[in-house]
Symmetry: C2
Subunit: 352 residues, 2 copies
């Protein structure tokens, strides 16, 4: 049976236009079926536009926009009407209880009922987490779901878990993150025996805050179940010395955003440096294809989205700023997660 991905068509800074466009694009490219959840008339309008006028995307390359036209009538697309939308500022727990007909709640419902196999959400991260936890339930043995993101390194991508779901964590939660991160790395990224590190501020076991120290001890005692390689410093994340980094969601989120911010700043400083004189402008033009290569390697849009691990279903959380290209990649991540059965494997592993 074909894999069907539910999309919160109303979530994200560029919803519904870019979200619907990205989903349709993925449907054509990866052969998945869609369940678009949101205001029916808006979604139909977008689908019509994509079929007749097409949409524009920079295809993750920065700069020149390409026009893409897709005949949506030939794709397997189901629309589920949702009359409400949860906005970015709303308190997640309250919002999902109050807005039972919101696009995110109904998209999670679609996965819970089995009409879709996974879901992609680019709206409020808090609302996506809360509705997933409430609608899909926790995997036995996992106290709290966590967000797993994939970051670029000089070699293979690395998984950082938790990237923002839980600001206050216990050592046991970090141990569970290690289990989930290992399963994700092995099954979705294809790394045979993923090396797990604790994000810390020094190599030695006694370094860091109370949480990191206790997590170190717990993971050391769990050798065999987890391939624990010790503490990992912030700088080493990018050196491919391990495959999974565990940390609390506060530190993980800061790490993710500092990485993004540093890369952004460097591109901006590079641009300024080349633009400061005529010779630089010329060399800059020649260098553009090489910069684009680098940009592609570290661009978050390429990674598409983060997995919310620990719930009984697949929720992909995308960047709020996601445009069509990022959503397309998020759908690919969702499809991979479905086909590799990562959720079932986490359940087996955490119980076993």
């Amino acid at each position: 049976m074909v894999t069907r991905i539910a999309i919160d068509a109303m979530g994200g800074d560029h919803a519904p236009h870019e979200i619907v466009a990205g989903a349709v694009w993925a449907a054509q490219e990866y052969g998945v079926a869609l369940e678009l959840v949101g205001k029916q008339d808006r979604i139909e309008q977008e689908l019509d536009k994509i079929s007749h006028e097409g949409f524009y995307s920079d295809c993750g390359r920065r700069g020149k926009q390409q026009k893409i036209k897709i005949d949506t009538s030939k794709l397997d697309i189901k629309i589920t009407h949702a009359s409400e939308v949860i906005e970015m500022g709303e308190a997640p727990g309250q919002a999902i209880r109050k807005k039972k007909k919101s696009s995110i709640v109904l998209a999670v419902d679609a996965v819970a009922k089995g009409s879709s196999d996974a879901l992609v959400a680019a709206g409020s991260t808090g609302a996506a987490m809360a509705s997933s936890l409430f609608g899909l339930g926790r995997i036995p043995g996992i106290d709290r779901p966590a967000i797993a993101v994939t970051l670029p390194t000089i070699k293979k991508p690395i998984v950082v878990i938790d990237a923002g779901a839980n600001s206050n964590c216990t050592p046991e939660m970090l141990y569970q993150f290690a289990i989930m991160g290992t399963t994700f790395s092995r099954n979705v990224l294809g790394i045979e025996n993923p090396r797990v590190g604790v994000l810390n501020i020094g190599e030695e076991a006694g370094k860091g805050n109370e949480l990191a120290q206790a997590a170190y001890k717990l993971l050391e005692e769990s050798q065999g179940k987890v391939n624990f390689v010790g503490n990992i410093e912030g700088k080493e994340i990018f050196l491919s010395v391990c495959d999974v980094v565990v940390c609390d969601g506060f530190v993980g989120n800061v790490t993710l955003k500092v990485t993004e911010g540093t890369a952004q700043m460097m591109f901006r400083i590079l641009k300024e440096a080349f633009k400061s004189e005529l010779m630089g402008k010329i060399v800059g033009l020649l260098a553009k294809p090489f910069f684009n290569k680098v940009y592609t390697r570290i661009n978050y849009e390429e990674f598409g989205g983060a997995l919310l691990l620990g719930v009984k279903g697949i929720t992909i959380i995308s960047h709020g700023r996601s445009k069509a290209y990022a959503i397309k990649n998020a759908v690919k991540v969702a499809k991979n997660a479905v086909e590799t059965g990562v959720i079932e494997k986490i359940a087996q592993y955490s119980e076993g």
Copy 2:
């Protein structure tokens, strides 16, 4: 009277050669006097070598080494013999009690006695902190000293405090970091009314872990004393939206190292991209001066070192990997800190 800087000549991966060279270089360039603390024969040997053979430095530019020769007999250099050295792996508290004749303990002593005005240390950060706290004492009103680092942004540098001294913090400590960071930004970096932010994972007051939430509240109540502008996300650090970022030393250290790691990775990926084909190699050569400009702007060596704030004296903590150029800049930071009277100003401000 001339400013005299004490140098732990034995601390750091490249001690004593690069440390002595950098100190002497600074003495000549900035007109400071030196107190070199360490094994007398080793230091004399290095001074002799610098006078007769010179030393090599890349001057923070990467690549080509330049030869620098300085007549050390013409400089105001005092040597203080220290028979012991604290190694990187030693437990700081224990080591400073046991090794009373170590170079770091005696360098702090020099500042405590007033024979020097400030100190630069590139050895064990823990030992530098412990000996400074023990030898210089705390400023009244400050519970724990903190490390203030300066990071590059798209505009003016930003101060991150605490960058690693305290892994577990209270909201009151973060408030004190805000006071110290403000004084540093105003007096050493020349920013008139420094904007202070709390490092967090979202904008809203209710976001983040317990510490960040409580610190937000405390700083909000202290408006007038601190120019508090709210929460700052990891990405915004580099956008010049504030001048001082406060956080616990665990998160601060991760931030510092993730910034360094991301920048390093990007330079490596850039190099690979250009080297992958002939055209790239040619363009890469032409682009080199522009890359060097960027490298200089974000290179930690340019910032020289971090200030340990909250003790009654000036301690500059340099990167363990510091070579001569970084030490030269660290001495400059020390000189600035002395001349602007930042310690006295923190004392006035935190009491007032």
